[in-house]
């Protein structure tokens, strides 16, 4: 155990934790904005109640996303200074753009939205939540472009004197096929999660005997969001697999536990591997499917780990270039399985609630609620697949993870920070979950229609929105 191992654990824990909240922020910001738009268009008070109810839940989640995001901005420098120095010229640019173009927008307009109910004309107030939502959705693009560059570095040269990366083409970085494909995939997954969040909350209210018509509507809306976003996730996921085959064949092979090159290659459903012996003892496959996923044809070869390792050694010198195969294999399957299960709930639910129907079986609502943690877990496994699959590199072909860590930071320092982050994050998870639960249980507050429909400037008492 050294500072490198602990720094990796810390990055993994803090990033995964952050990524529990971010997809919800991305999706829910738009959901809340859409609800408020519906109120603005129709003037029906139940949309205002829905806006305020889901708005409060959104803000509870938003706060966690913001504070856990601060860590990310500092952590590259704190624990990965060698990485930062090498990549800052390229990688820092999208991060700076993210702060300047997205975070300011998001934070400033969220403040205006929370406190502006009685200060701003209705139309302007509506615009503030949309601007905040745009900020959230835009921020994801920049950070994913930065992350995509680590997996498929483009638009740069390595300066022969300083040995640091130098940006030569920002357009190439921002239009990196990996960046765009990942952005679509992550955005889709975010809306799946947000849709299932709305579904779970609505289902909980209905289960608790709330006969408010409001939740019948939001249930439908959540299911529809999940189903549509699910299609986006599936299509972009297919595209991601093809990009893997093209740019990260080692990750694809490892995620499939494909030790030897196969033509045609089957998609593994279940395998028990022998990592030391570079082979699988049990492997149940669907023939041709991997070839199709990776290349759109049923007969193309897919390269295996052993061959790719030999290629990497020839290219980069002696070393172990194989990522953690069992982790990737199962992360890939859990991502797809849990994600599809979540989307399946969306599609099935849409059918079951067609034309104003509402199922009476309680287990159906419980299943719909369970789809939320499943989809959140799918997001996490997707992230694990991406990040673990890039190993042993931080920047593929350019910088190894082992060479990226801060040389001056001691094991003790990282042990302290890792412990404190984990403990604090654990405590905050409990606080957040209890708060969400309390607000869901309390349900929407009745809206005073007089106060809601006037812009008289008379301060409305909204304790949950103020301090």
């Amino acid at each position: 155990m050294d500072a490198l191992d602990l720094s990796r654990w810390q990055f993994g824990i803090t990033t995964i934790y952050h990524f529990l909240f971010v997809p919800l922020t991305i999706g829910l910001s738009v959901v809340v904005a859409a609800l408020q738009t519906a109120w603005h268009r129709t003037g029906r008070p139940e949309y205002l109640r829905a806006t305020k109810f889901f708005g409060k839940l959104f803000l509870i989640n938003f706060a966690m996303g913001v504070v856990t995001g601060i860590v990310q901005e500092f952590q590259f420098g704190m624990n990965w200074s060698a990485y930062s120095t090498f990549v800052g010229d390229v990688f820092g640019a999208p991060l700076a753009l993210e702060a300047l173009l997205a975070f300011f927008l998001e934070s400033t307009f969220i403040g205006l939205w929370i406190f502006g109910w009685d200060r701003l004309p209705k139309r302007v107030h509506l615009a503030t939540i949309w601007l905040a939502a745009i900020g959230s959705n835009l921020s994801a693009f920049f950070i994913l472009a930065a992350n995509a560059w680590m997996r498929h570095p483009v638009g740069f040269v390595v300066d022969p004197i300083t040995r640091r990366a130098r940006l030569t083409d920002i357009v190439a970085v921002l239009t990196n096929p990996q960046a765009i494909s990942t952005y679509v995939h992550v955005l889709g997954a975010s809306f799946v999660v947000a849709g299932l969040f709305v579904v779970a909350v609505s289902a909980l209210r209905i289960l608790r005997g709330d006969h408010d018509d409001l939740f019948r509507r939001t249930l439908r809306a959540g299911l529809a969001t999940t189903a549509v976003a699910g299609i986006v996730v599936a299509l972009s996921g297919h595209n991601q697999a093809q990009l893997l085959a093209e740019y990260s064949p080692m990750k694809l092979a490892s995620a499939e536990a494909l030790w030897k090159t196969e033509q045609p290659a089957g998609f593994s459903l279940f395998a028990v591997g022998d990592v030391e012996g570079s082979r699988n003892s049990i492997n149940v496959q669907i023939p041709y499917l991997l070839s199709f996923l990776a290349t759109d044809t049923f007969s193309a070869p897919v390269q295996g780990i052993t061959e790719l390792q030999a290629q990497s050694v020839a290219q980069y010198g002696a070393g172990d270039y194989i990522p953690d195969v069992p982790v990737l294999y199962w992360a890939f399957r859990l991502m797809m399985g849990l994600g599809m299960a979540g989307v399946g709930v969306g599609v099935a639910g849409l059918w079951l609630t067609r034309r104003g129907r509402l199922p009476v079986q309680r287990w159906m609502y419980k299943l719909a609620i369970a789809a939320l943690p499943a989809a959140l877990a799918a997001n996490i496994f997707g992230w694990v697949l991406t990040e673990v699959g890039r190993q042993p590199w931080t920047v593929v072909g350019e910088l190894l993870t082992a060479a990226s860590v801060s040389p001056g930071v001691s094991l003790v320092e990282v042990a302290i920070s890792l412990t404190v982050f984990t403990a604090l994050y654990g405590a905050l998870a409990v606080v957040e979950a209890r708060l969400l639960w309390r607000y869901v249980k309390a349900g929407p507050e009745p809206v005073d229609t007089a106060a809601a429909s006037s812009d008289s400037g008379e301060p409305e008492k909204l304790p949950a929105f103020g301090y």
């Binding site: 010229d89 403040g111 801060s406």
Partner: protein, 327 residues
């Protein structure tokens, strides 16, 4: 001015914006225990803006990463423990600020709302500690930057956390701590009405002597004599204006004092960004820590276009909430 210098100035501007803006919301946060039953009013005054203020920090750090990667890496790893404290404090503070108003509704209604009181008390503790720690640590970090750190030819800081607790740096921490507290007290007087406003003025009276002395001693060791006289004079003026009820001008004066302090700090660094006590030859400088001209040109265009836009809409948000907050 060459591009790296332009970006050194730009980063100084971002830090200035951060200290001037978050300075007062740190101050309000720290002063909660002294605000008694006006805590809620004071927090309402910073409520709409503190999160936007914090983005100045995120942008300053992001800009350091993009424009001076070696500075970013060496500083954040070299100041690992202090930076960790800041990050932890900002996490606790942000959650406490957002969750304070979301107290459990007490069952039954009538009587003392003990659950709610307890919840708010815990959040208040988070806000106080989460505001005071970064207010102190930023001063400590920047004073250490000015003083220099043990920095080898490899660009790695080898100062131990204990080395960073030297008297000059501790004084720097005291300066930002007291200055932000004073700035926050002036903000309370400026943005609230009724008893809270007078409480703000009373706090200015109590805080000003400490803040003025700390700033004077620090500047005397850091800047030219006339700069010290002017900046300290400005802070004295700020306190006098606040006490006389000219809170707007007082706030301008504390803001300019903070800006001047930041300029002094960055001015004494230049052309180094991280001076080495080991050997001046190992200094990280504007020239050797900077990114290439392509990146700096790109950042200049984007920053030149969008920073004014950001300033415009943030100013508008301050305009929207310009009214004094009442309980």
């Amino acid at each position: 001015m060459d591009l790296p210098t332009v970006w050194f100035v730009a980063i100084a501007v971002l830090w200035t914006g951060y200290f001037v803006l978050e300075g007062f919301d740190f101050g309000v946060g720290m002063l909660l225990p002294a605000l008694g039953r006006h805590r809620g009013t004071a927090l309402k005054a910073i409520g709409p803006v503190w999160d936007g203020n914090e983005v100045w920090l995120i942008t300053a750090i992001g800009a350091m990463f993009a424009a001076f990667p070696a500075w970013y890496g060496a500083t954040l790893s070299g100041f690992y423990v202090p930076v960790l404290l800041v990050v932890l404090a900002l996490i606790v503070r942000g959650v406490a600020l957002e969750y304070r108003g979301k107290a459990p509704r007490s069952e039954g209604g009538a009587g003392v709302d003990t659950a709610g009181e307890q919840w708010r008390a815990r959040c208040d503790l988070g806000i106080v500690v989460g505001s005071a720690v970064p207010a102190f640590v930023w001063g400590l970090v920047f004073a250490n930057l000015v003083r220099g750190v043990e920095l080898g030819a490899d660009g790695v800081v080898t100062s131990s956390p204990a080395d960073l607790l030297n008297p000059y740096a501790l004084l720097g921490g005291l300066v930002t701590l007291t200055l932000f507290a004073l700035h926050g007290a002036v903000f309370v007087a400026l943005k609230t009405d009724g008893p809270a406003r007078f409480l703000g003025r009373a706090l200015v009276k109590r805080l000003a002597p400490v803040a003025v002395v700390a700033l004077a001693v620090f500047l005397a060791q850091t800047a030219a004599g006339w700069v010290t006289v002017v900046v300290v004079g400005l802070l004295v003026a700020a306190a006098l204006l606040a006490v006389r009820g000219r809170e707007g001008w007082a706030f301008v004066a504390t803001a300019v004092t903070i800006a001047a302090l930041t300029v002094v700090i960055f001015g004494s660094l230049y052309p180094a960004v991280l001076p080495s006590l080991t050997d001046p030859a190992f200094d990280l400088t504007v020239a050797n820590a900077a990114s290439g001209p392509y990146t700096l040109t790109l950042l200049s265009w984007v920053g030149g276009i969008f920073l004014p836009v950001v300033i415009a809409y943030q100013s508008w948000s301050y305009w929207v909430f310009r009214r004094r907050v009442t309980a």
